[in-house]
């Protein structure tokens, strides 16, 4: 919990504590979703050691004000205290036409990620964290959304000049807290809207001179003009490089001072 920053806002610590529903422990699905066993099998490799775990904190809205931009942040840093680091985190959305939103390999970063997704209908988003010992620990949050997600054209394509600004990258690193926030202008077309081919990011990699820090594999449900929050380890001093690429071969590189 210490890695989330709500407490920096007046009243934030108390409000967050009140609003957070604790994830129940154990193997029962709090949302009793028929598709979840199938997703678990297909996207997590049917693990035997899995459980919902309150140590995985997942925050998101109860209702999607804008189904094209539904913000979440997940924090699995408390899992590391069990002695086994988090190797990857898989984010899935029940009953989404494209169920896997992203996979996060935290590497040298902390297992904390902020991101936004599109919602096609109401349902749970799930964050499943795999530890190095092969066990999976999870959290889920239900979002009420009235649709207009993956099958709606990106807002960018409503304009003839959608390429204007394409590829612009904005970022900032906060050394005191280890926060890195990255924003990239990209239409994130799913291929499900009539007449518009799929065009979305496939990868984002953070690195410093010592090599790769963390990596994201990205899919269609990630929001248009996506923004990501990372939590980096203390002591980074060299510039940080952000590299991303998409389905059409475009590459996007940027550098942030650490």
């Amino acid at each position: 919990m210490a890695e989330l920053l709500m407490h920096l806002l007046p009243g934030g610590a108390e409000a967050a504590a009140q609003s957070r529903e604790l994830t129940p422990e154990g193997q029962s699905d709090p949302f009793d979703s028929g598709i979840w066993p199938l997703h678990r099998k297909e996207f997590l490799g049917d693990p035997t050691d899995w459980a919902n775990d309150p140590k995985v904190v997942l925050l998101g809205p109860q209702a999607a004000e804008n189904a094209a931009h539904v913000p979440f942040i997940l924090d699995a840093t408390a899992l590391a205290s069990g002695g086994s680091r988090v190797a990857r985190i898989v984010v899935t959305i029940d009953y989404s036409p494209i169920p896997v939103a992203l996979t996060f390999w935290p590497g040298r970063a902390l297992p904390l990620l902020g991101f936004g997704v599109k919602y096609e209908g109401s349902g749970p988003l799930r964050a499943s964290a795999e530890r190095q010992d092969g066990s999976w620990r999870m959290a889920a949050r239900f979002v009420s959304a009235i649709g207009g997600g993956c099958t709606t054209p990106a807002a960018a394509h409503g304009r003839p000049d959608w390429q204007e600004g394409f590829g612009e990258m904005r970022a900032r690193f906060w050394p005191d807290t280890g926060r890195l926030r990255v924003w990239l202008r990209h239409p994130q077309d799913t291929g499900l809207a009539a007449g518009i081919a799929a065009h979305h990011l496939t990868e984002m990699v953070l690195s410093d001179p010592a090599g790769e820090i963390a990596r994201l594999e990205l899919h269609q449900p990630v929001e248009e003009n996506p923004a990501f929050t990372f939590q980096l380890p203390p002591g980074l001093t060299a510039p940080l490089t952000i590299r991303a690429r998409d389905t059409m071969g475009y590459r996007f590189d940027g550098v942030v001072a650490a």
């Binding site: 609003s19 009235i146 970022a171």
Partner: protein, 313 residues
Amino acid sequence: MLAGVAGAAALALPRPAQAQAKARGDYGFAPVQVAPGVWLIEGARQSLSPANGGAIANIALLETPQGAIVIDTGSTARMGAEIRAFADQRLGGVVTTLITHHHPDHWFGNAAFADAPLLSLGATALAARANAQGYSDALYALLGSWMSGTTPVPPAPRIETGRQVIAGRGLRLLPLCGHTQADLAILDEATGTLIAGDLLFLDRAPSLPDADLTLWQASLAQLGALSPAGTIPGHGPYHRSLAALTQTRACLAANDARLAQAAALGLSPAEAMAAGPVPEFARLGANPEEYHRSVSQRWSSYEDRALRKIRAA
């Protein structure tokens, strides 16, 4: 100070009679005369939900010898019909209807008033038309059967602003903006009552989906200069003071400062939401929902300022 304002406002008038509405399957409005010839149907100080049937916006009716001037018509056909029935039975019919702005909780009851002029500012009419289908879908999803039979009837943009006399009642029609791109405020000359639409909220959190905070604050300054004898906000109670003006101004400034601070500190929007509203305003009606909405709707503009460009397009 805020608690004092809120407390005084709550005592000023009886609470709206929402409780009886659901049991009968109608709204059961009990309009209150807040000033001579000025009637108020106060909405629930909540977000749209099946529990309130969508009756969250204030409806004002001004008496004239020829019937009522109706200001806003509510969220559903049934709501419009009940307002119309009150005007017909108690106020001698409807002279004209004025729509303050394009948000659907203020004009989706229009069908009941289509036999008389149904007027708004030009930009309001255009926005109402452009958003009609989306609003309709959203309201059906939020309100369910309360929406039965509701077809959007956008207002016409034939309003003339400035001082107007409608059926003998002198009004000042003020074309303002900030809550949306076009917000009509109405000052009733006979009583000094300001019917402010959603430029003012009292004891109910402001909604910001189309807001421009700079323009909104400028409009509030203009409303303050009118020195009204009483105010009917878009949401919240009538009050014989500038409580709504003071609270709306403070609430907008505090929300703005909070989102700017969150983005500047590197918070993600999900964290900014989880932190909840500014504590001083957390107990306003429709919070924390309106605060959550404001983060969804406004976050990118704050983050634009907090982040730096590291790759050109």
